[in-house]
Symmetry: C2
Subunit: 451 residues, 2 copies
Amino acid sequence: MDNTKYILSEKDMPTRWYNIQADLPEPLPPYMHPVTKQPLGPTDLAPLFAMELIKQEVSQERYIDIPEEVQKIYRQFRPSPLYRARCLEQALDTPAHIYYKYEDISPAGSHKPNSAIPQAYYNMKEGIKRLTTETGAGQWGSSLALACSLFDIELKVYMVKVSYNQKPYRRMMMETWGAKCVPSPSPDTMSGRAVLAADPNNLGSLGLAISEAVEEAMQREDTHYVLGSVLNHVLLHQTIIGQECQKQMEMAGEYPDIVIACAGGGSNFGGIALPFVQDKLTKNKNTRIIAVEPSSCPSLTKGLYTYDYGDEAGMAPIAKMFTLGSHFMPPPMHAGGLRYHGMAPIVSHLLKLGIIEAKAVNQLATFEAGIIFARSEGFISAPETNHAIRAAIDEAIKCRETGERKVILFNHSGHGYFDMTAYDAYMSGQLSDYEYPAEKVKEAQSCLPQI
Amino acid sequence: MDNTKYILSEKDMPTRWYNIQADLPEPLPPYMHPVTKQPLGPTDLAPLFAMELIKQEVSQERYIDIPEEVQKIYRQFRPSPLYRARCLEQALDTPAHIYYKYEDISPAGSHKPNSAIPQAYYNMKEGIKRLTTETGAGQWGSSLALACSLFDIELKVYMVKVSYNQKPYRRMMMETWGAKCVPSPSPDTMSGRAVLAADPNNLGSLGLAISEAVEEAMQREDTHYVLGSVLNHVLLHQTIIGQECQKQMEMAGEYPDIVIACAGGGSNFGGIALPFVQDKLTKNKNTRIIAVEPSSCPSLTKGLYTYDYGDEAGMAPIAKMFTLGSHFMPPPMHAGGLRYHGMAPIVSHLLKLGIIEAKAVNQLATFEAGIIFARSEGFISAPETNHAIRAAIDEAIKCRETGERKVILFNHSGHGYFDMTAYDAYMSGQLSDYEYPAEKVKEAQSCLPQI
């Protein structure tokens, strides 16, 4: 029998996260303080983050143990299945073997709980009873709402207004788990009020929502802040995805020639890619590892590699990364999780070193790919995930043309059940492409911090 | 390590459906023709159904092989996980062991593809290129849309208007898989036009949507009709759920004292229950098997056990079943899949024989249960599924009071991602209970067929 899916038993679930910092050929550039512009120390971060997460952010240990309490919750939906996309291969008439890691199965419907659960856990352990965060499409906000409900932590989520309007079900989901969700820009913070004063119809950005969540956490003693992507410890938590994939590809008797994931802040990409980057750095593997981003928010393919603010208001740490500028307001396209102006420092660093590749795809092509996938594999995918599917399909079509039997693995980061209006808009011809105007980079240049 | 979930390997997936008709202490009463009122023969059904499904409807064979092509598609999402609800047990502080079978994992998000896939398959094998069906909450319509997309069959779905309005995402989902979905009553059929003429604001019923779908299939040579519940062959296909549960409970080293599922037409209830009914009939097991229905549409607890029409217009077969009358229009409560006036003949027969029990629960109590479940187990459940959760929680609370360590198994038939507006309405106090007025049964009596 040819397997359709590869399932690991609970006892084969990885019990350690993999930390790429131990294997980088050059160390990551340090974070800088947004005010002093000097390298950040742990005490600078302590008002915002749990100490254990601050340690993980800079750790050079190759493996970090997953707490037993976190493993216990992981086991509800992990190990997640690895699928061989036999029906898609047939539909594309390709000799390529396509595999996808299926992260939809968590209660929140994406990979995000992999980091939400440990982040809520460490904060709970350190006595924190209240958290703030931001969310783009709502995948992160709902995952953290889930995690906070399990650890009895109060949560306030600033949701980018364009997504808040597009995806009301995501808000209701967060509320079902007991969280409070407000649209950003909001009148609750100085950063929000300033933007609303200038433009009451402002649709928000992830950078601005971060500013609001950080501002509130800084002002309240009882409140910490957590972030769903970009930071090293978030990518660390997500490496359980790629570690599982390594075992599952072994069960399938294959090794990927190409590993693909979409990239907004970089967490689902890092999650599947970093263990394969380790293989590439330490085992001489030749794998192509591709981050796929939207043409409308192309930080990796059109951005500057430089120190920039992590948020709109300049309150979050300054990081060296690919960036379109912290004031960049991406157009209201439907992959709300890919609308961040910057990119995870780890992902940026690996691209700069030539270890990974980046590719931009446009909106209509991603929905076309999502429909091909839904009508062959059955699953309806998040608009973000459709970026990875598009790139996987493009590689598989190349194989059809060259006759090569490449092994393609991509991360199916989440389902599209809350994005049906986007599919509806696509099918009724109401969606359009957005190309990032190259001259915009000059604007970015003009508001960079002086480091 | 105490398991959180029990996963069967692909090779342990059952390869035969279990047919309860082989083990019934008394045979099922035959179907009657809606016009002649005489027992139905296969030729009467041939214009509507694939011949293989007609054979399965009356088969007395204990096991029926699952075609290899159907198994192949099942394997994408089967065997489905069995969860031990440890967090829910803890939240309820109960000595009971609660297990739930997790059917949400199929691309359509419920148990319905278990029958949609073989029904589409047999029709495809018999050369049928076009199908009609009805759907209540949209779980069945979307599952059949998925199945038809895999077998390249054109599909038209009549969706009960109240759900069509409540759940627009379900329509978009069907369209994503390539199906056409119209609200019922529709102007496309005589049955629909008659109802609209009398009441343009009529919100529809499952009975009426069946009439519309049957009428169209009867009038078009190229079109067959399929049904998502009620009929024997549909319950047959669903028995893969209970058969898997038997193996998984064995892995867990326990046997259920109580098996619970919600019941609208009876397919998810039959699916989990019938293999345990077999144990009860042939292995002297004392299991309590409970069908849970809404207080607003209580066919099993308040209906008549009699021959009645399967649909509003009297075109579908007449069946002996518990019924509230084919003209009954249930109130617009959110468990759209539990709004059928009748009940599967098999389920009705088993209740009449005292082999199973039935219980009605009201809307607010089911959403309360759904929220308790979401905040402990994480998963957000369909409003239909919340009926089963309510009953399971009630039994677990009884155990807390008596100190008994009962083993409770329920069917988690589907997720609630398309029902977030119902949760929103519940949380904001806009939902109410609907009690079925007992005197309504007299109306039902007055429109029964003369058998």
